[in-house]
Symmetry: C2
Subunit: 311 residues, 2 copies
Amino acid sequence: MKCRRCRGPAVIDIRRHNAAFCGECFVRHCREQVRRAVDAFEMIAPGERVLMAVSGGKDSLAAWDILLDLGYACDGLYLGLGIEGATAGHVTGDGQQYSKTSGEFARAYAHTRGAHLVEIDLPGDVGFDIPGAAAAVRRAPCGVCGLSKRHLFNRAALDGGYDVVATGHNLDDEAAVLLGNVLRWDGPYLGRQFPVLPATPGFVRKVKPLVRLTEREMAAYCVLRGIDYVVDECPMAAGNRHLAYKDLLNDLELRSPGAKASFLFSFWERGWSHFAADAEGERTELRPCASCGSPTPDEVCAFCRLVQRVG
Amino acid sequence: MKCRRCRGPAVIDIRRHNAAFCGECFVRHCREQVRRAVDAFEMIAPGERVLMAVSGGKDSLAAWDILLDLGYACDGLYLGLGIEGATAGHVTGDGQQYSKTSGEFARAYAHTRGAHLVEIDLPGDVGFDIPGAAAAVRRAPCGVCGLSKRHLFNRAALDGGYDVVATGHNLDDEAAVLLGNVLRWDGPYLGRQFPVLPATPGFVRKVKPLVRLTEREMAAYCVLRGIDYVVDECPMAAGNRHLAYKDLLNDLELRSPGAKASFLFSFWERGWSHFAADAEGERTELRPCASCGSPTPDEVCAFCRLVQRVG
């Protein structure tokens, strides 16, 4: 197996591209895939400041690494979720220290690279952790976590004067979300699923620079670049539907290499526009949250309501 | 396990309905599902004459049986495809006599029921068989077969004065086709996928009365009603993509019972309308085929071109 580019010995084979790469050419290939995604979807304009949300996992650390290498002014943002065994039934083994370990990997990468990492600690700075909050409001932890991340990422970007928040969602993540949205034919969700969410008053732009790269590729990237990351899935996500959809798409990909990427990209080329109006139709008038000032359709925004209920 | 309706001993369990049925109540349940599909999609008006396309398999024989029991004036149409070992590489074992056996089951059912069966024999009446035609034009047999069926079903309905052609496509078939269309985000195909194709000049209405019933349910129906049918899949279809999509959806259904039906029916409720214009956009002006008179965008229709090339 020879590298498609330099004809040296290859270390990774990408079946959907029908190509193999040596380590150096693979790293360059990953950068080019991010470059293509950023350009095609106009994710980041020249001179803009980017805040990369890093979890300590492979995807977000790889994305940060690539954005820095592509020359973007990109700081990291680590949000400590307080997932460390608070719900003993869910968390086992290494999961006991999940958030602590994740934070250490994010800090270590920032240190090695000499990059700036913004940190927010949910228990210390806001007053609750995800397992405790989920139990208190009797909701699935992934829902409470997503709500908190959306709010705090945006607030941190506004406070720090960043133009755009980037997240580490990869091709597998997006394809699994798309499959879930399609199985329910959820028009508003389909209309909102796009690699760029434009800025609106009170909200910075959000972008997903890894949409052209898979989980497996990001793991290989981190190994080849010597980036240490937390390997375990979040212990609270075990058994969720998203993971089942990933399995189904992996089965499909095994039978027809390229099918997963084609499903996702043909959606953005030909499917998405059919549902854009569904997402628009859901927008209601927004006013400042009485507690934090974020735009919200309600008196108090969903995050501040969560803080009030849990605090 | 007790029958949901009569509390007698149940013989079949339908997980997506969270219900079990005894034989008699299950047969009634199947009839009601067809009744609901026919009514909801306005498939057949009172007094209309129906031509049921029967292959000799479980689905189309069950559909014919149910439409007769519901009181419709419904004749059968059997099309002999000449699949009997012409392509030795594809056909093995029982497949050697696939079309011959299929025809016998269709005739036996019609005889038992005292129903009228229209017969067309592709080799005898038109001059080619599916394996031979596929080889001659170097196309996949399923494509040549579909083209021939669409043309000949419609011609037989027009010649016999029928108002509507019914086919035995079930919930599994339709969900698999939908998955294939969605994986490619094929707008025109999505826009045409509906349980009723309305009549247009030169084409009778086409309907799929089994869309609310699965393959497994139709097999059980035939067993319970004592209807003998050809069990093998068509030997030429082995390994096609449609079957792989069925496998994927069966995996999904196993994990979340009801997911397959929800995928299909939420498409018709909320997804389909988004693509209706894509199908309209593809329509071009039609004129009579120079050879057979069927409406076609070309000088000679696709079926007559096939006959000319193969003959």
